[in-house]
Structures are given as structure tokens and as C-alpha cells.
């Protein structure tokens, strides 16, 4: 056993951190999705192809690499569609798609040109050629060039271009400032993808793991900001961090963060056949801890904590969304119990 990151992994983390440090600061972090140009630049750095399988022209990055990138995004609260676009949609197409589908959709994702979104719920009908019905809320749906749409009962999936005739979408602004979409299909021609329910679940697990790592990153930032704040903020003539009640609260945040990181690491490092269960377990744990931590960070900031002015309030919003994606902690615990 060895938990030391490789030299390449350290470099990877540093590269992403340096890239984001130039663009994200306390004034803009977590306000909404990063500019499209920054997303493209991340693609040009080779980050996305690094994470995709070699068979599709990628470099075969593993879950343990993906979490390094995702954690850095979370740390600087750079809101991106990494999980949905690269790990879920492009990952699935890269593994199960035809050469044509890979060329059409995965290549542009690698270059940061396309955003792909995943529609996993709603009332959808598919007759083998055409798609009808309406999706539920689709994260990053307004920015997507194409959708991977899960068929009812997850009997496979189809690919649909956002430009297809008969496709309409309605924007839905979410708490983290991202714009999702409800997508309507009216006899839309769809391109079937040879994917089983297990293929879908695996792709979702990889994406969900990235969102867990992103939560860890944002939790770390909120933790650090809070520790700074309670040392700076003075009331009754002393730093509030000198009150034992506050010290114990801060100590709990540290404990929560360590426990959460352990679950994330385990989910990233288990064998592939244990991945789905372990990601579910990590999600159930971390999603809960993330909200508790955000709530305490808010509380320890007093009035400042409920404003839009500090990263803590915006981080809270982002954690609210991340913790509820893919069914959230509730669904994760229910799956574990069954």
C-alpha cells in the first residue's frame, strides 16, 4: 500500500492549481461557471484527453488522477462541467461508442470545444430511431453541444445533438449560478450508443467520484477560510478563535474533512469492480459532511457567512448543488441499504 502521489500526479495538481490561481480569486470564485475560454484552455493543456481512455486517443488517466484535478477545481471553486462532460459523457462514448461517435463527440471534448451533458431522468420514449418526451433538470444543459440521454430503465443510451430538429431547451438557473436545462424532444433523431446499464452506472460512478473530490476541495477552502476568519475576527476584545466553543467547532471541521478525504481516497483507489459501491458510500458520507461543514463555516462567520461577498457563502451554494447531484446523500444511503 502506498498513498504517496507519483511525481506526475504532483505535477498534475500543481499545473491545475497554477492555471486556476491566475483566473480565480476570492472576489470571483464560485460565482458561476468559469468562462468558456478558460474551459477551452484547460482542454488545450491536455487535461481532458489525459483523463480519457487510450482507445479513444486519450492517455488513460485513472480515477486517482481525476480526483486530483477535481479537487483543485473545488479548491478554487472553479465551476466546470468536468464530471458530466469528460468523465460521464465522453468517458462513456470513448468506451462504448463507435469510431464515428468518438470522432464526432469525444475529440472536440478533448480540445475543450464541446460541452456534453447527461440526461438521466424525466419522461422519455424511444422507438429505436426517434426520441420523444422531456428530461428532468440537466446540469450544464444550456451550454451542451450534445446530450447523452439514458433510456427508460437505463436500457442503454442515445446521443442527441443539441442542434437536432425537434429539440428545445428551457434554462433553469441553479443555486451555484450554473444554468441547467429542461430538454424537450419532439421526434428527435437519436444516435444509439451500445451501452448497458452497468456501463452507464460505471460512467456515472466516475463522474460522481469527481464531484466528491470537488466537494473535498471546496470543503478544504471553506475550512481554511474559517480558520483564518476566527483568528482575525475580534469580539469582546479577543479573537473569536480564542473561545473554546469556537475551537471545538473548528476542530470538528478538521475531523469531518479528514474523514471525508479518507472516503474519497478509498473510492478512488479501490479495484474497478468495487468502484460503484464505494463511490456510493463516499457520496453518502461526504455529501452529508459537506453541508454540515458549510453550515458551520457560515455560522462561525456570523453575518458575513450569509452574504454573497465571501467565498464561504458561494462555496455553501456550490456544495448544496454538488451534494445533491446524482440523487444526493439520500439516494446513496438508500442504495447502500438495499
Amino acid at each position: 500500500m502506498d498513498l504517496t502521489p507519483s511525481d506526475e500526479q504532483v505535477m498534475l495538481g500543481d499545473m491545475v492549481r497554477r492555471f486556476l490561481a491566475d483566473r480565480q480569486n476570492t472576489a470571483n470564485m464560485g460565482r458561476g461557471p468559469i468562462p468558456r475560454d478558460d474551459w477551452r484552455a484547460l482542454g488545450e493543456l491536455g487535461l481532458f484527453s489525459f483523463l480519457l481512455p487510450e482507445t479513444a486517443g486519450g492517455m488513460g488517466g485513472r480515477p486517482q488522477d481525476a480526483v486530483i484535478i477535481a479537487e483543485e477545481l473545488g479548491r478554487s471553486m472553479a465551476i466546470t462541467p468536468l464530471a458530466e462532460t469528460v468523465l460521464l459523457c465522453a468517458g462513456l462514448i470513448a468506451r462504448r461508442g463507435s469510431a464515428g461517435q468518438i470522432a464526432r463527440w469525444v475529440q472536440p471534448v478533448m480540445q475543450g470545444e464541446y460541452i456534453l451533458a447527461y440526461a438521466g431522468g424525466g419522461a422519455i420514449r424511444y422507438d429505436g430511431a426517434c426520441l420523444d418526451g422531456q428530461t428532468h433538470i440537466v446540469q450544464h444543459g444550456m451550454d451542451a453541444s450534445a446530450f447523452v440521454v439514458a433510456l427508460p430503465e437505463r436500457q442503454g443510451a442515445v446521443l442527441v445533438s443539441a442542434a437536432a430538429d425537434g429539440l428545445t431547451r428551457t434554462p433553469v438557473r441553479l443555486a451555484d449560478g450554473t444554468v441547467a436545462a429542461e430538454v424537450r424532444f419532439d421526434a428527435v433523431a437519436a444516435d444509439p450508443l451500445e451501452a448497458t446499464a452497468n456501463d452507464l452506472d460505471t460512467a456515472i460512478a466516475h463522474a460522481e467520484l469527481a464531484t466528491i473530490a470537488e466537494m473535498i476541495g471546496t470543503m478544504t477552502t471553506l475550512y481554511e477560510q474559517t480558520v483564518d476568519y476566527i483568528q482575525q475576527r475580534r469580539q469582546f476584545g479577543v479573537a473569536i478563535g480564542s473561545f473554546q466553543v469556537i475551537q471545538h467547532r473548528a476542530a470538528r471541521l478538521f475531523v469531518m474533512l479528514e474523514q471525508s478525504r479518507s472516503m474519497m481516497l478509498k473510492a478512488a483507489l479501490v479495484e474497478e469492480d468495487e468502484r460503484i459501491r464505494m463511490v456510493t458510500a463516499a457520496k453518502a458520507y461526504v455529501a452529508d459532511a459537506a453541508l454540515r461543514l458549510a453550515q458551520d463555516a457560515t455560522q462561525l462567520h456570523g453575518g458575513m457567512g450569509v452574504t454573497d461577498e465571501l467565498p464561504v457563502g458561494r462555496g455553501h451554494r456550490r456544495l448544496l448543488v454538488l451534494s445533491h447531484l446524482f440523487g444526493g446523500a439520500l439516494a446513496a444511503r438508500a442504495r447502500l441499504a438495499s
Partner: protein
């Protein structure tokens, strides 16, 4: 011992219920349901205020000699319970609940005659200028200076977290009139016209996107000495009286019970863990309602309320936050939407995914974190309970 309403109390309840059935317009009920912020939107609050004033029930918690209807503590509770169940809007609280009682208790006859009628008819909309950037939990360290200049004070300083100051035309304010004495002794209570030269309001957006909070800058604002309530140096005593009203002036239990029942109707039936969470919250709210009632029954019998009253705001905050978190979970993905437009009952807000109640859930969740912060944080409440109730 007996918990049943007396025949007279039951008749009173029926009277209130009948009034609410006739007098509460649907758009106000709707607006109250779709308010994301912590405080009532002024348009709704004012309209409800006028309806209650016309019935003579607006200042239901004021004593008769101050113009109230002379209700007993239990009558006030019955009224609040019925309002909660009917889904009325809240009232603009800074004036009616906070500065009103201060005025009838500490104000001069001239001040009462000048301010109480305008408070009741809505001409004056009040904001509370207590907190400062450096004086939150440690309120007594406030630094806004009021320097005497003939029959005026010249007031300079900064207030923060001033709820709805953007709508207010009057500010009640704690200022330092004497920097030499012990901090609590050097504070006075002033009424400031927001239109005075030198008053500037700057908005503070909440993480939810709501605009409820503000900074208020006071730059050599001239305030007549006649606008001081109480004596010079009596501000702290008045502030404590006011803060007691802020934390415990009305009952929290009935509203929380009604809100939980409403959520159950809108987002239920709950399944799995949500059932357990809803049940826990319901139990806590039921206990709170009874705790509050115990105090009111004792008050009615003339027994001074003990330290038990300290429990209510703390527990109410926790239940409120629990309900609003439950709502987000109950609405699932739809509970994550958060449009930027306000108010939620207004024409500009886009069509919701699911329902309006789902659309408002995330904003409510974020805003309700403030409950354990304003009016004294939960940590401060616990310290006070440890000291005054536990005796440590």
C-alpha cells in the same frame, strides 16, 4: 392543571378564525408562501398591516394603554396560532415588534404622539441600526459617535446588517454619547430620519441572491436631541428590553408547526429518511409550542417568566433550519433551482421546474442559516442559558 381553552377563549378563537377566513386575501397568503427571505416583503407586509389595523388588531401585543386591544398572553397566542394556520404574512417587525414597545415604554408623550400613529398607519417604515462592523455579538463595543451640538446630536459612524434599510424612512439607532464611561453606560437610543443629509445606504446581497441586508453610513448626520428615547446613557437598558422582544416577543412554535404541515402537503408524502427527519422536527416543534405555552400560561397567572424563555429562539432557529433543509431534499433536483429574480410571487420569475415551492426551496435554505445568527447568535444564546438558567 388544564390545557383546554375556556369557553371564552374558544369563542375568541372562533372569532379570529372567522375574521381570517374573510379578511385574508388569497394574494397575501400566496405572497407569504412565496417569500424566500427571512423578513416579510414590504408590499405584502404593509397590506396585511392595514387590514389588521382596520380591525383594531394590528398592535395585538401592545398593552391597552398603548393602544393595543388589551389581550391576555393566551389570546395573543391564539391569534398567532390562527394566523400561522391560515398562512398570513408576517408583519414588518422592526417597527411594530421592536421600536413600538420601546416608544410606549420609554418614549416621551410627544414622541408617542408623533411616532406611534405613523408606525401603525405605515407612514413610517423602520430599520434597526444596532450592529456595526466591529460590534456584532459584542454589541456594547459599538462606536458610532453622537456628539452634542446645541439641541442636536451630530452622528457619525457605520451600521451593518441593517435589514430592509433600503425601504426604511426611519432608523432607530444605538450611538455612543459618552466614550469615557463603561461601554454599556455611554450608549443612547436615537431615532433618525433616513432622509437626513449624511445618511447613505449600501446593499449587501445574501448568498441566496435576496437583498435584505444593508450597510448604513452616517456622516455628520444632525439628529434633534428631541429624537433621543430615554435618558442619555440609557440606550443599553432600552436595547436589552428591545432584544428580549426580538427573541421572545411572539411564539415560534405555531408557525413552525404550520410550515412543516404545509411542506408535508406540498412535497409529501415523505419516504425513507425524510419521514424520520420530518417526525423529529415535528416533535421538536410540538415541544417548543408547549414550552412557549407554559410560559404564557404562567404570565397570564401573573408569574414572571423564568429563564425558560431563553430556550425558544435557539430551538426555533434549529427547527426552522431543519425544515428548510428538509424541503431541499424533499424536492430533489428541483430543489436546487435558484432564479435571480425577486420576489418569487412576482411576474419576472421564470416558470418553475416542478412547483413554485420547489423553486423557492434553495433560497429559503440559504437564508434560514441566518436564524442562528441574527438577534444574538446561538453560541451567545447558549452562553446566556448556561449563565442565567443553568447557573454556571
Amino acid at each position: 392543571m388544564d390545557l383546554a381553552l375556556s369557553p371564552a377563549q374558544a369563542a375568541f378563537r372562533d372569532e379570529v378564525r372567522a375574521f381570517l377566513r374573510d379578511a385574508l386575501p388569497e394574494h397575501l397568503r400566496h405572497g407569504a408562501r412565496l417569500t424566500s427571505g427571512v423578513f416579510v416583503e414590504p408590499d405584502i407586509g404593509r397590506e396585511w398591516q392595514a387590514i389588521l389595523e382596520a380591525r383594531g388588531w394590528l398592535v395585538y401585543h401592545w398593552p391597552r394603554d398603548a393602544g393595543g386591544p388589551g389581550w391576555t398572553p393566551i389570546q395573543r397566542w391564539i391569534f398567532e396560532k390562527e394566523c400561522a394556520e391560515a398562512g398570513t404574512p408576517a408583519l414588518p417587525g422592526m417597527g411594530l415588534k421592536l421600536v413600538g414597545p420601546v416608544l410606549y415604554r420609554f418614549g416621551t408623550e410627544t414622541q408617542k404622539a408623533e411616532y406611534l400613529p405613523k408606525l401603525r398607519n405605515g407612514e413610517h417604515f423602520w430599520a434597526q441600526g444596532f450592529s456595526e462592523p466591529g460590534a456584532g455579538s459584542d454589541l456594547a463595543s459599538l462606536r458610532t459617535r453622537a456628539v452634542r451640538d446645541g439641541d442636536h446630536y451630530v452622528v457619525t459612524g457605520q451600521k451593518i446588517w441593517t435589514t430592509q434599510a433600503q425601504f426604511a424612512n426611519r432608523l432607530f439607532c444605538l450611538v455612543r454619547t459618552d466614550p469615557e464611561v463603561k461601554p454599556q453606560r455611554g450608549i443612547s437610543f436615537l431615532l433618525i430620519d433616513m432622509a437626513s443629509p449624511g445618511v447613505t445606504v449600501r446593499p449587501i446581497l445574501s448568498a441566496s441572491g435576496d437583498h435584505e441586508l444593508n450597510e448604513v453610513f452616517l456622516d455628520e448626520v444632525r439628529v434633534p436631541v428631541a429624537n433621543r428615547v430615554g435618558d442619555e446613557g440609557q440606550g443599553w437598558t432600552i436595547a436589552k428590553f428591545l432584544l428580549d422582544n426580538e427573541r421572545g416577543g411572539s411564539s415560534f412554535g405555531p408557525q413552525l408547526i404550520a410550515d412543516l404541515a404545509r411542506l408535508r402537503a406540498l412535497a409529501g408524502p415523505f419516504e425513507g429518511e425524510l419521514v424520520t427527519r420530518a417526525t423529529r422536527l415535528a416533535l421538536e416543534a410540538e415541544a417548543l409550542e408547549m414550552t412557549e405555552l407554559r410560559t404564557l400560561i404562567e404570565l397570564e397567572a401573573g408569574t414572571p417568566p423564568g429563564p425558560r424563555t431563553l430556550v425558544t429562539k435557539l430551538i426555533a432557529s434549529e427547527i426552522r433550519q431543519g425544515i428548510d433543509e428538509l424541503a431541499v431534499d424533499a424536492f430533489g433536483l428541483a430543489g436546487l433551482q435558484l432564479p435571480a429574480e425577486r420576489p418569487f410571487y412576482g411576474a419576472d420569475v421564470p416558470a418553475p421546474v416542478g412547483s413554485r415551492d420547489a423553486q423557492i426551496a434553495a433560497g429559503r435554505y440559504l437564508n434560514s442559516r441566518a436564524w442562528s445568527i441574527f438577534g444574538g447568535t446561538s453560541e451567545i444564546q447558549l452562553t446566556v442559558i448556561a449563565k442565567n438558567a443553568v447557573g454556571l
